[in-house]
């Protein structure tokens, strides 16, 4: 993990240490986790993104290139994090990929209503999980073209 003052490429918001470890492990194998920050709850994630509380000194302009967001989070839930990210002009352009255990249509619909960029239901089994996270990471970090402020 890197010092939060430096530019962060991926912000992983995930309360399960096991899921976080697996995700980071797969991203590392693709060399995508060099500048990854992992936060365990929604409140901390909002502090980080908006430069408040623990992260009061962080330069908010340096937005992560990608946010990986779990939905069931303690304190502030994933949907609320997503909502706040997508209504604030400073953060609304950051691609947000929801990584959730839920395959329920209702959950998927709500995230798209709030402006999510992609929804991935976390596979249970190893091969599939590694493959999905690899493809997702490569796509968003290497293939996708992010908007640039001119």
């Amino acid at each position: 993990m890197v010092d939060a003052q430096h530019e962060v490429e991926i912000l992983l918001i995930e309360d399960s240490p096991e899921d976080a470890e697996l995700t980071i492990r797969v991203l590392k194998e693709q060399n995508l986790a060099n500048r990854l920050v992992w936060l365990k709850n929604g409140a901390l994630a909002l502090d980080f993104l908006f430069g408040r509380g623990t992260y009061a000194t962080r330069n908010v302009v340096e937005t992560p290139r990608l946010v990986l967001l779990d939905l069931s989070l303690p304190k502030v839930g994933g949907l609320e994090v997503l909502r706040q990210l997508k209504v604030d002009p400073r953060t609304r352009k950051i691609p947000v990929v929801v990584l959730s255990s839920s395959t329920q249509d209702k959950d998927i619909l709500r995230t798209y209503d709030l402006g999510v960029n992609s929804y991935i239901s976390k596979p249970v089994h190893f091969e599939e999980f590694a493959q999905v996270v690899t493809q997702m990471g490569l796509y968003w970090m290497l293939i996708n073209k992010p908007p640039k402020e001119s």
Binding site: S16, E18, D19, L22, S102, T103, V124, H125, F129
Partner: protein, 270 residues
């Protein structure tokens, strides 16, 4: 007298309305319970399973050389059961969702649907000799005599749901005829009185008739898993769908000879 009678009617009406409101509340609560149950199954059970499956895989892949033969065998047991639990969770969800959708009734060409399902299943019996007969008029198993070799009648039911019923019944017929040199499967349907009865017969391993009633309960299996794979959810789904249509399901079988599965749907529509 008339006024007294009116008052009674009003009283009974009011009671009925209260009762209906109460039952509706209970039904809504049950629906919410089922919803939160399937959410819990899909989310809360999957998360720990993902950890078990993934970390045991990593152990197997990256630490195999540090384990002796017994250690490697033990990891294989963990791995196999993690996969099995994943299948069970998937099947519980499929069962829960089998009956929760509103039925959309339409005229169904049963024969076309059966052929379509067979085509989907074709890869599962590639290289085997499987003979499938489809005919209307008489039921498989000879339960009803009558003219044969007519086409299947049309029925009025939910197409997606009946497709799932045929898929499960035919997949079973294909699976349980695996030991046979020539698998023979017969799909029949006919209108009897005001209902349509459809049957799928096979010459597979069959079952002891005294256990027949247990077949349609979820996760009941009559065969060893090493012999025939599956969690035992298929016929549970069939029953749930046919129940929802207001029909019946039943089965006849004899060990070593074969099995016939029947379902009925109300409202014959030939």
């Amino acid at each position: 007298m008339v006024e007294e009678h009116d008052a009674d009617v009003r009283k009974v009406n009011a009671q009925l309305q209260r009762r209906v409101a109460e039952l509706t509340r209970q039904l809504e609560a049950a629906g919410r319970d089922l919803e939160s149950f399937s959410y819990s199954v899909s989310h809360d059970l999957r998360a720990p399973l993902r950890a078990i499956d993934n970390f045991s895989s990593i152990l197997q892949k990256e630490y195999a050389d540090k384990l002796d033969a017994e250690g490697r065998r033990l990891i294989t047991v963990v791995r196999r059961n993690a996969v099995r639990m994943g299948t069970l969770i998937k099947d519980i969800l499929a069962f829960a969702h089998a009956g929760d959708r509103e039925l959309i009734l339409a005229d169904i060409d049963l024969e076309a649907l059966a052929r379509d399902v067979l085509e989907e299943l074709a890869p599962s019996f590639a290289g085997r000799r499987v003979d499938v007969q489809i005919h209307g008029g008489a039921l498989a198993g000879g339960a009803l005599a009558g003219g044969a070799s007519a086409g299947l009648p049309h029925i009025r039911a939910d197409t997606a749901a009946i497709r799932k019923v045929l898929l499960n019944l035919l997949a079973n017929a294909i699976k349980f005829t695996r030991p046979r040199e020539l698998a023979q499967i017969e799909i029949c349907a006919t209108a009897v009185g005001n209902e349509s009865i459809c049957s799928v017969k096979d010459n597979g391993v069959g079952f002891e008739p005294e256990y027949g009633h247990r077949l349609f309960s979820i996760f009941q299996r009559l065969h060893d898993e090493e012999e025939f794979e599956g969690t035992g959810v298929g016929l549970g789904i069939v029953k749930r769908i046919i129940d929802k249509h207001g029909g019946r399901v039943w089965a006849e079988g004899s060990p070593g000879v074969g099995a016939t599965f029947y379902f009925s749907l109300p409202g014959a529509n030939t």
